[in-house]
């Protein structure tokens, strides 16, 4: 297994050596106890914990800078606007987007995908057209397209995966034809950890003039993403999965697409001029940012990404890869345990089922030992159906996890076998 970043890496990489204990010290919550045990937080694919730098950035904004943006002439409004727009610049740099106006702030990856469906989708998808997704998508990259297809009389096509949870590229390519208006695909699967070969997929789609939207919610905290190297047309992610606050996320779009798209919502900030007869819309990216946004959230997200860049995604990816190899080997020693998602290209997810022990019971027993994992269908019910299981238990990794925590997971699983012996 190896973690492959589908992107060219340049100056956006730190050269400082990676020290997991130093990183852990930056996250206050990691020193707390649950059920009288040290917290072992392995539910990072659901949401990540926040470093002090993010907590401080949000506090600082509310304590010293709070004002509405893009409006007042007063000093506070100007400094709030500067901080908000500085975060946009940080994210442009982070994704290597060509310009900052291609970065649209939304509530999260879900809203980013809905924005794509409701604007680009409604303009370009008609009766009889097709949208291609994959069998491993999160509900947030299924349902918005289903809703669009229903509205337009279009069809959703599902590219299949193999038993390891890898996309079948030939089958994917065979679904692309003149009726295909869009490909929407996860960069990394939340339930399996599979890393999809986005650059290759974009190449296949572009060869037929089909644009590609990438759901990057699970990818940005783990691999270096360069939207220009990938050449994807849209890239969506959530702030809270990359050590930032909840309620904020990003839709990157190529200018040529964003310019041509109608607005998503109407309101303040997204207009240039309004009369009762006619409204002229604002320029990018404000056209898509109606209403007062989550200013503190955006500033917090900017701080989170600066924090990640300071540590360096290469170092993070290498550390998480070591953990994944270690954790995979550890779990494979447990009789009756089956890993779900064994792709060759895989990022920090250990999804598993156990003979005769339901994931929900696994979750409860581990929680009593201070170990937080996710159990359930992971908002990917069609994927669970593909594997013929109702649910899995999922341990998901972040940069602050340690091999000692994976040892704790393993001993927790042994305890589980005692309880259910």
């Amino acid at each position: 297994m190896s973690i492959v970043a589908n992107a060219v890496r340049g100056e956006r990489v730190s050269t400082a050596p990676f020290d997991v204990w130093k990183v852990r010290a930056d996250f206050p919550i990691l020193s707390r106890q649950v059920h009288d045990r040290p917290l072992v937080y392995l539910d990072n694919a659901a949401t990540t914990q926040k470093p002090q730098a993010v907590i401080d950035a949000i506090s600082y904004y509310y304590a010293f800078e709070n004002a509405n943006i893009h409006r007042g002439v007063h000093l506070l409004s100007q400094s709030a606007t500067d901080a908000y727009e500085a975060a946009r610049g940080t994210i442009q740099h982070f994704l290597n987007a060509e310009e900052s106006s291609e970065i649209v702030f939304v509530r999260g990856a879900t809203e980013a995908i809905n924005l794509g469906a409701q604007t680009y989708g409604r303009e370009h998808v008609g009766a009889g057209d097709e949208i291609v997704i994959t069998a491993m998508e999160h509900h947030s990259n299924i349902v918005p397209w289903q809703m669009l297809c229903e509205e337009k009389g279009a069809h959703l096509r599902i590219a299949p995966i193999n038993d390891d949870g890898e996309l079948l590229l030939d089958e994917f390519e065979s679904l692309l034809h003149s009726k295909t208006k869009l490909v929407a695909i996860a960069h990394i699967s939340n339930a399996l950890g599979t890393v999809n070969p986005i650059a290759r997929i974009v190449e296949m789609a572009h060869a037929r003039n089909i644009p590609v939207l990438v759901d990057g919610a699970q990818a940005v905290p783990h691999v270096s993403v360069d939207v220009r190297a990938l050449d994807c047309d849209f890239y969506a992610f959530s702030g809270h999965k990359i050590y930032g606050p909840t309620g904020v996320g990003v839709l990157y779009g190529k200018r040529k697409f964003l310019d041509a798209m109608p607005p998503y919502q109407g309101g303040g900030d997204m207009i240039r001029s309004v009369t009762f007869e006619k409204t002229l819309y604002n320029q990018l990216p404000y056209k898509f940012e109606a209403g007062t946004p989550d200013i503190a959230g955006v500033i917090g997200l900017g701080a989170a990404i600066e924090y990640v860049l300071k540590i360096g995604l290469d170092a993070i990816a290498a550390h998480e890869h070591d953990l994944l190899v270690y954790g995979t080997a550890a779990l494979n020693t447990v009789p009756g345990l089956r890993l779900i998602g064994t792709a060759k290209e895989k990022a920090g997810v250990l999804s598993f089922v156990m003979e005769d022990i339901h994931p929900h019971d696994i979750g409860t027993v581990l929680d009593q030992q201070g170990i937080a994992i996710r159990t359930g269908h992971h908002c990917a019910q069609p994927l669970m159906q593909r594997f013929g299981i109702p649910a899995t238990a999922r341990a998901s990794l972040a940069m602050y996890n340690t091999t000692a925590e994976l040892d704790a997971l393993l001993s927790g699983i042994h305890k589980l076998k005692e309880v259910f012996a």
Binding site: H35, H360, D361, T364, G376, H377, P390, V419, F420
Partner: protein
Amino acid sequence: MSELGDLYQEVILEHSKHPRNFRAMETANRQAEGYNPLCGDHYTIFLDVADGTIRDISFQGSGCAISKASASMMSQMLKSKTTAQAEELFSKFHSVVTGVAKEPPADGADGLGKLAVFAGVAGFPTRIKCATLAWHTLRAALEGKQVASTE
């Protein structure tokens, strides 16, 4: 702090491994499916009800230890009971697993009988739905509905 042993009582584990009345019933005249969408638990409850009495009850499906043991023990308890007694038992069971009844009743004293072992569920709020799924499904079947969901 609630201990695991409070939740996973021996009786519960035993029922989850060897569920009673775990079969389809061809002669059922009431039937409902119950889902817990969050964890994927899914059961079908079969009933043969005549003159307000549950003549036979069985179930099928899959889910966690708590939900399966609850369905199994419910089926044992309800055979030959009237539908009114079943409702009454559900109401007692519900107040015990949700922690409304602070002291679990003494074994059998008020008719809850073996179901008192589920009192430990109250210390695990995320598992209450597991314990009540079969009962909600039973109620749906008795009311002539075909589907019950804990959400």
